[in-house]
Each structure stands twice: as C-alpha cells, then as structure tokens.
C-alpha cells in the first residue's frame, strides 16, 4: 500500500518535465482554461481585495491619522519603534506565539482523534458529530464569552470543583500564570471545524484500501498509520496551515475575556488585539497598526512557506497532476 503512495509522490516531481514537453497548443489552451476557472477569484482580488491590502502596505511606512486623513511619510520609523521602542509589542508577540504553538497542535490532535473515533462509530454518529461540533458554532457570541467567564470566575464552576477537592480557589482569568491557559483551553474546546474537515477527509478515503489491508491482516493501529494518516496528509496539511493562520489572528476571545485590555499584565494581549488598540483608539496611528500587520503577514507567510516546502516530504497526494 505505502509503496504505491510513494510511487505516486515520485510521479509528482516528474510531472514538470512531462508538461514542458507538451505541445504549444495544449499549453495555451491550459493557460486559457486555468485563468478562466480562477477568474472569479482574480476579478474579486483586483476589484475588492487588492486596494485595501495595498493601502495598508503603503500606510505601514507612514503615520496615518484616520480621523484627519493626514498621511505623513515616515519611512521605516514604524518598524524601528515596534522592534526597539515598544515594550507592549514584544509582550503581544510572546502571548500570541505561546498561544499559537500550544493551542494549534492540541486542537489538531483532538480533532483528528475524535474524527477517527466518530468515523468508526456505528450508532449515534450524527448525534455525536453534532455534539462535538456544537462548541464551534457558538464561537464568538457574547453569551458564550459570558458563560466562559462564569465557568472560570472567582466563584465559578471550576473553583467549586477546586474547593470540593480541597484545593484553593484561583482567579483563573486574571492570574498571570493561568489567564492565557483559559484562552488556550477555549481554543482547543472549539476543535469542531478541523474535526469536520478531517471527517470529510476520512470519508474520501476509498474503502477498498481498508478492505485490502484487512485481507492482508492489518490491525486497527496499522490501518490508521499506514492508510489513514498518509492519505489524510493533504487534509492535515490544510488544517495545519489554516489553524496556524487563524490562531495568529485570534481576536474575539482575547477581546471578550479581558475586555480588550490584554490583562493581566499583557499576558493575553494578542497581536491582533494590539493592532486594533493601536489602529483605532483616539489619536491612534493606523500606519503603526499596518506596519505591525505586515510584519505579521511576513512571519505567517514564512511559517506557511516552511510548511509548504516540507510538505513534499510528508504530504501524499493520491496522484500527481498530469
């Protein structure tokens, strides 16, 4: 089974050479069809997306006052200030990186395990799937934030358990040590979206593979590691990239739980939250916010690029392109 997959992966690198030898006519036709198919996105990009993005890039080299509209070219000043002269900036970086690097692997692990578990379940699958997805659809609503605060509040549910267990109650949400963990927990709790995508991916694996493996006498574990995991790598790859991007951009949770302040001691001051504070407050300089945003874009793009580069070593597509 794996040997087939490896052969396919090999075919992928051959694809380029094959294509280069194809006729000119076919090549032109492919170009036309390619651009035709991606044209919806291209048109949207040039008309609606590009302008705000380009504007924010230009603004990152300026001091831009939204209210007066004054734009003053400052060159690299925003970046200098960010790296050398803004203590809050580095706290925001630290909080975000910690959050992303802990919550993403945990979330994906949970999502994959539960997806696999539910995939194999015979009865009540629909119900379970709904139950596990439910936390993700209540995501940003105020009511959930209130509830979350209730659970971790000084006289909340967790503390009731702590007292019952003979432990001291803790102020989870505003304790320097624990605050970020409540947010990580909340993120992991909402593993529903990657789980659904994993489930869809599992459904796409042809059952013949499993049947063949069963005939070869493979057990549950080896089926999982030899068939499920390799064939699921495109989806794992997708989830990894997307969750990383999303976690770097996390805003609502931090905003709601700390009231948008990053308390305690900026340990929950997520990058996006800080961009927001810097861009929108009275007398704020959106140029500075834009500069921060572009630094973030470069950092995420680098991470994504690394994952993409590494993907040829661990992501298996069932076939190469022709």
């Amino acid at each position: 089974m794996t040997s087939v997959l490896q052969k396919d992966a090999g075919k992928f690198s051959l694809a380029k050479k094959v294509v280069a030898q194809k006729g000119n006519k076919k090549w032109r036709h492919n170009n036309l069809m390619g651009y035709l198919f991606i044209s919806p996105w291209l048109i949207g990009f040039f008309t609606l997306t590009l302008i705000p993005i380009a504007a924010s890039l230009v603004l990152s080299f300026t001091k831009y006052d939204i209210l007066s509209g004054d734009v003053e070219w400052t060159g690299l000043e925003n970046f200098r200030r960010m790296f050398y002269d803004d203590p809050r900036y580095w706290r925001a970086v630290r909080a975000t990186v910690k959050f992303a690097f802990i919550s993403v692997p945990l979330k994906l692990l949970f999502a994959l395990l539960v997806a696999e578990l539910l995939y194999n379940a015979r009865r009540l699958v629909g119900v379970y799937r709904a139950v596990y997805y439910a936390p993700s659809i209540v995501g940003g609503s105020i009511a959930v934030a209130v509830m979350w605060r209730q659970i971790f509040a000084s006289k909340g549910l967790i503390n009731e358990f702590m007292l019952d267990a003979g432990l001291e109650r803790k102020l989870w949400l505003f304790d320097i040590k624990y605050a970020i963990w409540t947010l990580i927990l909340m993120a992991v709790w909402q593993f529903g979206s990657p789980m659904l995508i994993f489930l869809a991916g599992l459904k796409q694996i042809p059952s013949e593979y499993y049947e063949a493996a069963s005939i070869d006498g493979a057990g549950t574990v080896s089926k999982f590691t030899r068939i499920t995991l390799p064939l699921l790598t495109p989806v794992i790859f997708f989830n990894l990239v997307m969750q990383l991007i999303f976690s770097f951009m996390t805003f609502t949770q931090a905003y709601v739980v700390s009231g948008g302040t990053g308390r305690p001691l900026d340990t929950t001051l997520f990058y996006s939250l800080y961009i927001y504070i810097r861009s929108f407050g009275v007398g704020a300089n959106m140029g500075y916010g834009s500069a921060m945003a572009w630094v973030m874009l470069v950092v995420i793009a680098t991470f994504t690029g690394v994952i993409f580069l590494s993907s040829r070593f661990w992501v298996f597509y069932d076939t190469a392109e022709n």
């Binding site: 048109i43 040039f46 008309t47 609606l48 590009l50 302008i51 380009a54 504007a55 230009v58 300026t62 831009y64 006052d65 939204i66 209210l67 007066s68 509209g69 004054d70 734009v71 003053e72 070219w73 203590p87 809050r88 605060r149 509040a153 000084s154 102020l171 949400l173 505003f174 304790d175 320097i176 700390s258 009231g259 948008g260 302040t261 990053g262 308390r263 305690p264 001691l265 900026d266 001051l269 504070i277 810097r278 929108f280 407050g281 009275v282 007398g283 704020a284």
Partner: protein
C-alpha cells in the same frame, strides 16, 4: 507638523482609483437623485450606551418627531467600543451621522480635525437657546474659540458609599473635606469591622492621577501640552503605596479579583453586591444604573474624592458626554434644533431624567428636582456640594492623552505595580518618561 499629502485625501484618492476599476465592471450606479420634496428631512443619530439609555432616548426622539413630522429619524445605539470602531470608519469614509455622542477627549480631537460642525451660528440665531444655561457650562464644548458640542449633562468623579454599611461598622460618614489619610483609616476600619472590603475597584483609576495632582495645585499637563506639568513623582507614588498597603491588608480586592469585575456591568460591581462599603464612580451619572441594579432599599451617597493633606479639592465638574453635529450632516440646522430640544425641553428631560448627567439648563434642572427619585437626588446633591470648591474644568486636553491612558498608565504603571512586578517608584518614573515622550511627539 511636517506636511505630507493634503488632508484626508490620500486614501480617498487611492480608493477612488480602485472604485473606477470596479465601476467599469459593474456599470455606474445611479447618480443621486435630487431630493424630491424639500420638506422631508433625514436625521441620523448614533450614541453609545445600554438598554435604559436606548429606551429613554428613543422616546425623546419620538417626541421630537411628533413636533416635527417632516423629520425622518433613524438611530443606532452601540456599546462604547463598537461605537468608536464604527464612527472612526464612518469618519474616514465621510459617512458620519448627523448627530453623534462624544466624550471629552474625543470631542477635542474630533473638532480639531474638522469632523464636527461648529454650533456658534445656531447659538447666535437662537436655534440653540442658551438663555438658561450658565456660561461656564456653555463653554464646556468650546475648542479653539468655537463651540462644537452641547454638554448632555454635568458630571463629576466620586466615591459612592454604602450608608448602611457605615452605620453597621459604627463609622461616621466623613466630611467632604476628608483627606487620603482619613480615607485609609476609614477603609481599614470598615474592612475590619464588617469583614468585607472597605473599598471596591479602581483605586488606581487613571482619572485619580489627575485629581491627585490637581489636589496639589497643579494640573496634570503643561499648558503647552508638550509634557506633564510635574517632575515630582511623590504624590502618585504615595498613592500607589497606599493602594499596595490596602491590597496587602485585604482591605481592598486584589487586582486580579477586581479586574474580573471591572469589565462587567453595574449589576456585577462589588458595592452593588454588598461586597464592599465604598466604591469608585467614574461618573456621578453612573449612580443611576448602579442603584437600579442594587435595589431601592439600599442607601447610597456620593463623596468627593479625598484631597491631599493640606491640599485643595482636585475634582472638576465636567460634562458626562456631549452631543455634537458632524460635518457630514446635510441638515445641520435641523440637527441643531434637535440638540436644543434635547437640552431645553422640560418634558423630554423628564424622560431622560439625568441619565446622561445633571441637565445644564437650570429651569429644566429645577423642574426635575421637584420630584426626583433617590439616585437622582443624590447626584443633584453631590454636584451642588462640589460646585462650592471644585477645581476648574481644564479643556481641551492635549493630543496623545488617550494613548497615555491606554498604552502607558495601566499596562506600564498601575497593573505591574499592583501585581508586584515593579515598585511604585519605578513605575511612576516610567509613566512620567513615556508620557512626556508621547506628549512631545503628539503636540509638536
């Protein structure tokens, strides 16, 4: 200020260039038709606030519409944060409503940046009738010699005290001239006698910074706005040391405990729940919501913030918020008429009932005082007492003040000090240095 591209045009130009592209894709939209009938006037009003404010304000809007049937009124109300996100976007896109609500810092900035319509012509022509408004209060909305807004009501910071708790603790209600020394003694006594906190949250509130220095006889900011007015950190260091003493003695909640409450509404406040005997009031008008949440059987009184030993009253009477007409209004005169109705109409104010602060029109105020409920009575009483020796209301603030409040005062000074990460001296020095830097840069 070094000159860049002309005012507010840079982004608009680039957006227009983009819009051109898009229009050629979609075909141009219908050009705005001229108003068919002159008699129908659109007015849009946005404010921040909760349900109570929304209910009473919409009632007043209805009253105004009944008197002016040609006005087509639309309105929105939002939470404070959403409000400013939305209004900032609308300012950038030139789509501000006719009438908007402002705070003191924002009013100064927005009028300096020409986003608000000066009201002087309407005051001169009598559309806005200031006959019964004391001159001091008229000028509360004055920036660079023009009046840009009317005060929606007068306000002052203060401490709210639970009279029953004081009685139970056997502690006398102090006189208005009490000092910080008296305060510390009373807080300690209350917490020892009652087993609850003597004082609730925000004993490090950013407004206290100014009030403390003002009590020592100096304003917080230098007159040219380029720096702080003080070089001696002692007053604020002393204050924070007291806060730490009280926090260590468990006479006030720990910072992590109070942070939890500070982001919640009135119903969650310590004093409302009876968990402390005294609490901070960022504005006297908030007593209405607090008392409503606590229940009518409670007894509250507002006290002025204590003064330094041998110092003066540091509190100023200021507007709780303003109502202003924006430059995007197509009917500024009608908008001004509404403002006039809002501050001068007795019936309308009976509904508004000082929820936005004490009415600035003396005739209206007298009418409201006649049968005021307990919370309103307490507020009227407090402002009347305070008026006798309050500090002057300094307005407008220099630019950069909000930056200092959000990005320096709490995250670099009070929070690390109260969490014990740095000493009050270190924190106060950082606060002074960073503030001076920001002020110097913002007010070149």
């Amino acid at each position: 200020m070094p000159k860049g591209i002309s005012r507010r045009d840079f982004l608009r130009l680039s957006a227009a260039a983009g819009a051109g592209t898009v229009l050629s894709v979609y075909g141009s939209p219908l050009s705005g038709l001229p108003a068919l009938a002159q008699d129908k006037v659109d007015l849009r009003f946005i404010w921040w606030g909760g349900q109570l404010r929304a209910d009473i304000t919409t009632q007043v809007i209805k009253m105004f519409q009944e008197k002016n049937p040609n006005v087509n009124f639309t309105y929105e109300f939002l939470s404070f944060e959403d409000y400013w996100t939305l209004l900032t976007a609308q300012a950038a896109g030139g789509g501000l409503p006719d009438i908007m609500q402002h705070g003191t810092t924002t009013l100064a900035e927005w009028s300096k940046k020409d986003l608000l319509h000066p009201l002087d012509e309407y005051i001169a022509s009598g559309v806005i009738d200031f006959t019964n408004v004391p001159e001091v209060l008229q000028n509360h909305g004055k920036v660079n010699d023009k009046i840009y807004a009317v005060s929606a009501g007068s306000n002052a910071n203060g401490f709210v005290i639970d009279l029953d708790a004081f009685e139970q603790a056997g502690i006398d209600v102090p006189p208005d001239t009490w000092t910080w020394g008296d305060f510390e003694e009373i807080v300690t006594g209350l917490s020892e006698n009652l087993g609850i906190w003597g004082f609730g949250s925000y004993l490090h509130h950013v407004d206290l910074w100014r009030i403390i220095y003002s009590g020592h006889g100096t304003d917080l900011y230098a007159t040219d706005g380029k720096s702080l007015a003080y070089t001696d950190d002692a007053p604020i260091v002393d204050h924070m040391e007291m806060v730490l003493r009280l926090q260590d003695a468990l006479a006030i909640p720990h910072i992590s405990e109070e942070s939890e409450v500070n982001t919640l509404g009135p119903e969650a406040q310590f004093i409302v729940k009876g968990q402390c005997a005294m609490d901070y009031l960022a504005g006297s008008n908030q007593l209405v919501a607090m008392w409503t949440a606590a229940g009518e059987d409670r007894n509250f009184k507002i006290m002025p913030v204590p003064r330094p030993e041998g110092g003066r009253q540091g509190l100023a009477i200021r507007p709780s918020q303003y109502e202003a007409v924006t430059v995007n209004s197509e009917n500024p005169e009608m908008a001004a008429m509404f403002l006039n109705f809002f501050i001068n109409d007795v019936e309308a104010n009976k509904i508004l009932n000082a929820e936005r602060g004490v009415p600035i029109n003396t005739v209206v105020l007298d009418a409201l005082k006649e049968n005021a409920a307990a919370p309103q009575q307490a507020i009227y009483d407090y402002l009347a007492r305070l008026a006798e020796d309050s500090a002057p209301f300094v307005f407008p603030d220099p630019l950069g003040v909000e930056d200092i409040r959000v990005n320096v005062y709490y995250p670099e000074f009070t929070d690390p000090v109260r969490y014990g990460a740095i000493s009050p001296e270190e924190g106060a020095a950082t606060l002074r240095e960073m503030s001076n830097e920001i002020l110097a840069e913002a007010n070149q």
